[in-house]
């Protein structure tokens, strides 16, 4: 549980960067080697590895080295928490607005507003 909280602190920081978001989006499709992940970006490998490191520290991805190939895998737990929150917020507002629709209908009946 403790580790979980530590990870969560930096998830949004990790995702605030377009390169890192692109890496996560790619990994949603499945694991990929670092070399393939780095290919779309015009940056030196050490710079790219810093992004990988931030994502790993945020608990968003894991990487494993086999021979000379380092492969990255998505760890969806942290994203799920964020997605769940946004989903909850959407449901809360949808329910509120339904209430307001009903109230407006009642009020319009009372005041004959067109």
């Amino acid at each position: 549980m403790d580790n979980h909280s530590i990870y969560l602190d930096s998830v949004f920081h990790a995702l605030a960067d377009p390169t890192r978001r692109a890496v996560v989006q790619r990994l949603v499709e499945g694991p990929a080697p670092v070399k393939e992940l780095a290919a779309p970006f015009k940056m030196a490998l050490p710079s790219f590895m810093k992004h990988i490191s931030v994502l790993e520290q945020a608990g968003l991805i894991a990487s494993q080295k086999q021979g000379r190939v380092r492969t990255c895998t998505l760890k969806p737990d942290q994203l799920e928490a964020a997605e769940k929150w946004f989903g909850d917020q959407r449901a809360i507002w949808a329910s509120r607005f339904d209430n307001l629709d009903n109230l407006l209908t009642t009020l319009k009946g009372e005041t004959n507003e067109t």
Binding site: P76, A81, A82, E83, W85, F97, N99, D101, L103, L104
Partner: protein, 170 residues
């Protein structure tokens, strides 16, 4: 929701903002009243099955709305909206925060900034709300609190996640 009433819910993870747009089948003055009068807010603001109870309302620049949402077990969740600037019937800006029963803002919980805009839409009214947090860390804290209250989840569809990451409607 009535099927012909527009509802947009857009999460922008990069800016730590939420944009919520909703159309209502009523005139702007009436919708404005529902957002700004305590006796009307009490009738709709809490999502079902919760109910709303206003403790105090002072709708003016620098004023506030102190209220609770009450769950079916009788637990009170206190909040306070602090109004910054109000332009009837066009919009207002405010800060939203969690409080205790006396209205003291919980210093451990980040407040969100709210910008509400009301516009005429051919006999209907469009309400747009922009919710922003100071930083990704603030937003994260709010989400962590949601986790602590026991809201666990499983990721069901990865395509939804892709849309979510792209900052589109979730």
């Amino acid at each position: 929701m009535k099927p012909d009433l527009r509802f947009d819910f857009i999460a922008d993870m990069q800016k730590s903002t939420l944009t919520v747009r909703r159309e209502f089948a009523a005139g702007r003055q009436l919708v404005w009243d529902c957002y700004t009068k305590a006796e009307l807010l009490d009738k709709w603001y809490a999502p079902k099955p919760l109910t709303t109870k206003t403790q105090s309302m002072d709708f003016r620049d620098g004023g506030h709305w102190h209220f609770a949402m009450i769950d079916p077990e009788g637990t009170y969740y206190w909040s306070r909206t602090d109004y910054q600037t109000i332009t009837p019937i066009e919009g207002y800006t405010a800060y939203d925060g969690f409080t205790d029963e006396t209205g003291v803002v919980n210093p451990d919980m980040p407040r969100s900034h709210i910008r509400q805009a009301f516009t005429d839409l051919d006999g209907r009214t469009m309400v747009e709300m922009l919710v922003s947090y100071n930083s990704p860390e603030d937003l994260q804290k709010v989400i962590d609190m949601g986790m602590e209250t026991g809201l666990a989840s499983t990721l069901e569809r990865l395509d939804e996640l892709l849309v979510f990451l792209a900052g589109e409607s979730v």
